[in-house]
C-alpha cells in the first residue's frame, strides 16, 4: 500500500527532543530519532510503498511496528484516503456563551487607525458620529440581557462584555445591564462573568469602585509608553492621552489588587514605527503594573501609512521571539508570564484545539449595536451586511447558519496545505472584510506572520516540555 505522511510540522526542543505537530488532529507527538526518520521518509510527494520501504530497513520488525503506530495515530496514512466525514456545523441553534454590548458608538479619542471611526470603518456614518443611536438606552441594555439568558441554552455560565466607542461614555447603561443581569441570572440559575474594554480616560473613582466590586475582567487599550501612546491615541483636539490615563490606570491596578480582582490586561495595537515589543511589555508590566499584555497588529486596508508592511511583520516576529525567551525563563521557574499572545497560543497547542472557524463570532458570541441589532461580533455591529437579527426578535438562524457554513475552514481552499490551519482557520472575519470585502475568505496577507508565530509557539512548547513538562498542567481543564 502507498502511504504518505499527512500535513504536519516538525520541531525540536533546545536539548534535541524532536516533535511532530499533526495538522489533521492538532496532536503533538514526541518522537525518537528513528521514528522522526520514518515520518520524514514518508513525507514525499506521492508517498511510498510500505512493503518496499519495510523490506529496505535493517530492523524490519521495528520499522513495521513504528509505521503501524504512526498509521494508527494518523501521522502516516494511505495516499488518496478520503477524509473522515465530519459535521460542517455543531447542532444549531448553538447556545450563546458571550454577548458583546456596544453601549455607545461615540468616542472621546480619535485614534488614527481605529477600525470603527478611521478610514477602514464598516459603519456608514460620518467619523465619530457613527450611525444609529449614539448610546444604548436602558431598555435595550435590559433586552440584551434577557436575550442572552434565553439564547444560552443550559450553559451554567455566560459572559457579558461591554464595548464601544469608548465604553465608559455610557457608564449608566453598563450599571443598568450589570445590575439587571445579576437579578435575571438568579432566575435562570446561571453565573455571569463581566468584562469591559476601555481607553482608561474615564476611569473615575466611582467607575473603578463599580468595576472591581463586580469583578470585571478589564482590558485597557494602550499602545505603550508616552511616545507610543500619544502617536495615535489622541483627543479630538490632537493632544495625546497618556498624561490623562496614566494616573487613572495606576489607581485601577492598585484598587483591583487590594480587592483581589481578576487580572487586568493591556491591549496594544501595533503600528509601523512602534517601540520594540519587549520594551513595551516591560513598560506596561513593570512600570505601570499590568498583569498581562496582548499585542495586535493594526487592522488596515491597503496603503495605510500606519500599517505593518512585510518588514514590519518580520521585525515583530523577531521581537515576539525575544519576549518568548522571558516566557520560557518564567515557565522553567514554574511561574506564569504575562505575554498574553504566547500564553493563549500555548494553551491552545497543549489542549490540541482544532478549529473549524477562526473564532466564536456568530457561534457562541454575538455583538449588539446601540439599537439592539445583532452582529457577528462587536466589530460588525451596525454593518448592515452582517446583521443576524435583533435582541427582541432573536437570531436570524438562516443567515447565521449560511454565514458559518460558508466561513468553514473546509471552504478555504487556500488553507488546505497549511500546518497552521487548526489554530488560524483563515483568521479574523473582520480583517478579511476590511482587506478583501468578504468576511468568509482567508486572510492571505498575514499567512507568513501567522505561520511564523505558530512556529514560535511550537518551538517554545517543545523547550518548556523538555525542561518542565508539569508547567502545562495549568492549561488543562
Amino acid at each position: 500500500m502507498q502511504l504518505q505522511t499527512v500535513l504536519h510540522r516538525r520541531f525540536r526542543g533546545e536539548r534535541g527532543a524532536e516533535f511532530v505537530y499533526v495538522a489533521s488532529s492538532a496532536a503533538i507527538l514526541g518522537v525518537d530519532a528513528a521514528t522522526g526518520a520514518v515520518v520524514d521518509a514518508f513525507a514525499v510527494p506521492g508517498g511510498r510503498d510500505q512493503d518496499a520501504w519495510i523490506a529496505d530497513q535493517a530492523d524490519r520488525e521495528l520499522a513495521e511496528s513504528t509505521l503501524h503506530d504512526l498509521v494508527d495515530l494518523g501521522v502516516v496514512r494511505p495516499v488518496g484516503e478520503s477524509p473522515a466525514p465530519r459535521a460542517t456545523l455543531p447542532p444549531m441553534p448553538f447556545p450563546l456563551a458571550t454577548l458583546v454590548l456596544n453601549v455607545t458608538n461615540k468616542c472621546n479619542l480619535t485614534c488614527t487607525y481605529c477600525y470603527e471611526y478611521g478610514e477602514d470603518r464598516l459603519t456608514a456614518g460620518d467619523g465619530s458620529k457613527g450611525t444609529g443611536k449614539p448610546k444604548m438606552d436602558d431598555d435595550t441594555a435590559r433586552q440584551s440581557i434577557d436575550f442572552l439568558m434565553r439564547s444560552s441554552g443550559d450553559r451554567p455560565q455566560v459572559s457579558i462584555t461591554f464595548f464601544g466607542g469608548e465604553t465608559l461614555l455610557n457608564f449608566p447603561a453598563i450599571r443598568v445591564a450589570t445590575e439587571y443581569a445579576e437579578e435575571t441570572a438568579k432566575s435562570f440559575k446561571k453565573r455571569v462573568h463581566y468584562s469591559l474594554t476601555t481607553n482608561a480616560t474615564l476611569l473615575t473613582d466611582e467607575v473603578v469602585d463599580f468595576l472591581t466590586k463586580h469583578r470585571f475582567g478589564i482590558t485597557i487599550s494602550i499602545d505603550g509608553d508616552q511616545q507610543d501612546q500619544d502617536r495615535h491615541r489622541k483627543f479630538q483636539k490632537g493632544v495625546g492621552s497618556f498624561d490623562v490615563i496614566e494616573p487613572r490606570i495606576r489607581h485601577l491596578l492598585v484598587t483591583n489588587k487590594e480587592r483581589k480582582g481578576r487580572s487586568i490586561g493591556a491591549r496594544v495595537t501595533l503600528t509601523s514605527g512602534a517601540a520594540p515589543v519587549p520594551h513595551t511589555y516591560r513598560f506596561l508590566t513593570q512600570e505601570l503594573g499590568f498583569d498581562e499584555v496582548g499585542f495586535a497588529p493594526v487592522t488596515a486596508g491597503l496603503g495605510r501609512d500606519y500599517a505593518l508592511g512585510e518588514k514590519g511583520y518580520q521585525k515583530l516576529l523577531r521581537e515576539f521571539g525575544e519576549l518568548a525567551e522571558d516566557y520560557v525563563a518564567a515557565a522553567l521557574r514554574n511561574e506564569t508570564h504575562g505575554f498574553a499572545n504566547l500564553g493563549d497560543l500555548l494553551r491552545e497547542l497543549h489542549q490540541g484545539v482544532n478549529k473549524a472557524h477562526p473564532c466564536g463570532a456568530g457561534l457562541g458570541l454575538l455583538g449588539v449595536s446601540t439599537e439592539g441589532e445583532l452582529g457577528l461580533c462587536h466589530r460588525f455591529v451596525e454593518s448592515k451586511s452582517h446583521s443576524v437579527g435583533t435582541v427582541t426578535t432573536g437570531i436570524d438562524e438562516a443567515t447565521r447558519t449560511a454565514f458559518l457554513t460558508q466561513a468553514h475552514i473546509d471552504n478555504k481552499t487556500d488553507c488546505t496545505q497549511c500546518f497552521a490551519r487548526p489554530l488560524c482557520a483563515g483568521g479574523c472575519y473582520h480583517e478579511a472584510h476590511v482587506r478583501y470585502g468578504d468576511a468568509t475568505v482567508a486572510n492571505l496577507h498575514y499567512c507568513e506572520w501567522i505561520r511564523g508565530f505558530i512556529d514560535l509557539g511550537l518551538r517554545t512548547y517543545g523547550r518548556i516540555l523538555e525542561a518542565n513538562p508539569k508547567f502545562f498542567a495549568r492549561f488543562e481543564s
Binding site: F19, S25, I28, L29, G30, T66, D69, L73, G74, G352
Partner: protein, 125 residues
Amino acid sequence: MSNVPNDPDVPPRRPTPRILACNQKARQLAALVLAQRGQARALTQDPPPTQYPYGCTTIFAPGWEVDSGNGTHGLCQPIERDLYDCYHTCYWPAQVPDGVTNSPKWTMSCGAPMQDWKSIDLVFP
C-alpha cells in the same frame, strides 16, 4: 506506545518510548488507539473471530460469488438467508429495506420464511 526491545547484553533499564503523546489531544488519540488494538480482525484470519461485526460498513466481505473455500456450496442456503443477511444485519449491501433504522417491522408478517416469504410486502419510500 511501543517500546524499543531491550538488548539482552545490556543491563535492564526502563525502555525508551519511541512515540510520546505530549499534548491533551495526542493523549486522547493514543488512548483511543490502544483501546482499539486487538479488536479488529480479518474474517479469514486463523483462528476465526468468535464475534462478527454488526452493520454493513465495518467489515470487508469477499462478494456474492464465492464462499471462503472459493466454491459456491457454502453460500447462503436456503437463499432466503440472503434476504435476512441483507435485512437484519445489513451484512450484504443489497436493495432491501433496512431493518436497522427504517423498516424494523418489515418481516413481521412472515413467520416461516421458507414457506411464507411471499407474504413480505413491498416498501414504498
